[in-house]
């Protein structure tokens, strides 16, 4: 299971991707379908989850966390 971060928009996902790069985390951007329709996500390595969420909160990027069975 991999952690998946969900964002409100493609812009927010790109912003998050760039923010994570500044702390050395490389995330894969994915588009998924779910409640409400299409959403943009970042797929992370599980060991990066804590650092990633801390950085996104610090940069005030809103997100939700899901797990992904890939």
């Amino acid at each position: 299971m991999y952690p998946l971060l969900l964002f409100e928009s493609a812009t927010a996902a790109t912003r998050a991707k760039r923010a994570l790069l500044t702390v050395g985390i490389s995330a894969t951007q994915r588009k998924i379908t779910g409640k409400g329709g299409c959403r943009y996500t970042l797929l992370l390595d599980a060991r990066d989850l804590y650092t990633a969420t801390a950085e996104l909160r610090r940069q005030q990027v809103a997100f939700e966390i899901q797990s992904h069975g890939e």
Binding site: E8, S9, A10, T11, A12, T14, R15, R18, Q29, R30, K31, G36, G37, C38, R39, Y40
Partner: protein, 382 residues
């Protein structure tokens, strides 16, 4: 023909575009041609990166830090219409200056005709007149940063402060100032800043933007359609930029705008503007020798407007055009400004310089102008 042209119409659109801008444009079309924010494949994601880079460039330009608050539109006119319609509450009284372009005057007039708002016009530069026209119902002010006719800047620090003190939302039209003057909506006190991409920012036609303050309440929908997100909802997503960006954006034009802004930000603004001011001052000095000439305003942001006694402005522009000189006559889509400047039924001739114009080009222009004047080419026809 291209090499012989003297292009002094940069307030309408900048020309020619820089090699970097053209390279960014073609690179985007060739290599980043997906639809941004719509799909998950590499081309779509790379187009999304283009948009994000451009939002960041606009943030740097406007000294803001929220890329998602940057909404791309097809033009500054579209951005202004959107901002006005989103912020004009029913029953509101709106204040606009007497230098506004039709991009402000017409949407506000339409809202007035529809009975949704009322509007007053204040004299640009006259803070007392502004204050006198504020009523308890005034909730919105819309004003240009720099007049597209006279080049004069409005006292926005003062006006912005007065708006903020009175709880009046402020929409700033930075069409002529973006790329010339420092832009900081926060310092000015503007809730929305709108600008085109193709004038002094050096991009191509087809893109403009609005920067919305994060302190604004939730915005209504303006135009509805696909956003690539929350597709099952019957309404636009609640968050910016998706809420206000319906339909496929002009990604190549946005890439070109980003390159234009980045190129501009690498220059020293003081050097660039002092060169432009010197060119404008020199043009004024040359033209001032012409009998019967009237200038409008002091000229700023490379704009110099004038009339010759007895010479229709469109005729002057047409005669110059026949000689390969590109200037603009008429009313410049700004009837309020022309009324305030008392240009009458003639409008005026506007020269507007860009960063690539040279003194040698100006000398050549003046030789052509003097010859046409001596030949009487500007007179006798309407």
């Amino acid at each position: 023909m291209g090499n012989k042209l003297l292009y002094f119409d940069h307030a309408a659109t900048s020309y020619p575009k820089s090699p970097k801008v053209l390279a960014a444009l073609t690179d985007c079309i060739k290599h980043k041609g997906g639809n941004p924010g719509r799909s998950g494949h590499a081309l779509s994601l790379s187009a999304q990166e283009v948009l994000y880079d451009a939002r960041c460039a606009v943030c740097t330009l406007t000294r803001t830090d929220r890329p998602e608050q940057v909404v791309f539109t097809q033009s500054a006119t579209y951005a202004l219409n959107m901002a006005i319609c989103c912020l004009a509450e029913k029953g509101a009284h709106i204040l606009i200056s007497d230098r506004e372009h039709n991009a402000v005057y017409r949407p506000v007039s339409r809202l007035c005709r529809e009975g949704k708002v009322t509007c007053s016009v204040f004299r640009a530069g006259d803070v007392g007149d502004f204050l006198q026209k504020v009523t308890p119902a005034t909730t919105l002010a819309v004003m240009t940063h720099v007049s597209n006719v006279s080049g004069e800047a409005l006292p926005l620090r003062k006006l912005g402060r007065l708006c903020r003190e009175r709880g009046i939302r402020l929409i700033l039209d930075a069409s002529q100032s973006a790329g010339h003057l420092p832009l900081s909506p926060e310092q000015i006190g503007a809730d929305v800043l709108c600008a085109p991409g193709h004038k002094a920012l050096g991009g191509i036609q087809g893109v403009g933007f609005a920067v919305f303050s994060p302190t604004l309440p939730p915005l209504p929908e303006f135009i509805s359609g696909g956003s690539g997100s929350y597709s099952l909802l019957p309404e636009m997503p609640a968050v910016l930029p998706d809420r206000l960006e319906a339909g496929t954006p002009p990604t190549p034009a946005i890439a070109a705008l980003c390159a234009g802004i980045e190129e501009m930000l690498q220059q020293d603004p003081a050097v660039r503007e002092s060169r432009l001011s010197a060119l404008t001052a020199r043009a004024r000095e040359m033209l001032a020798e012409t009998p019967g000439i009237t200038f409008y305003g002091e000229g700023g942001c490379g704009i110099l407007s004038f009339n010759l006694a007895g010479a229709p402005s469109e005729l002057v522009a047409a005669r110059l055009a026949e000689e390969g000189v590109c200037v603009r006559g008429g009313f410049h889509c700004a009837p309020l400004a022309h009324a305030a400047l008392q240009t009458g039924e003639n409008g005026c001739v506007r020269l507007s310089f860009g960063e690539r114009n040279t003194e040698a080009e100006l000398e050549r222009f003046y030789r052509i102008f003097r010859r046409l004047y001596r030949e009487g080419a500007f007179c006798g026809q309407g």
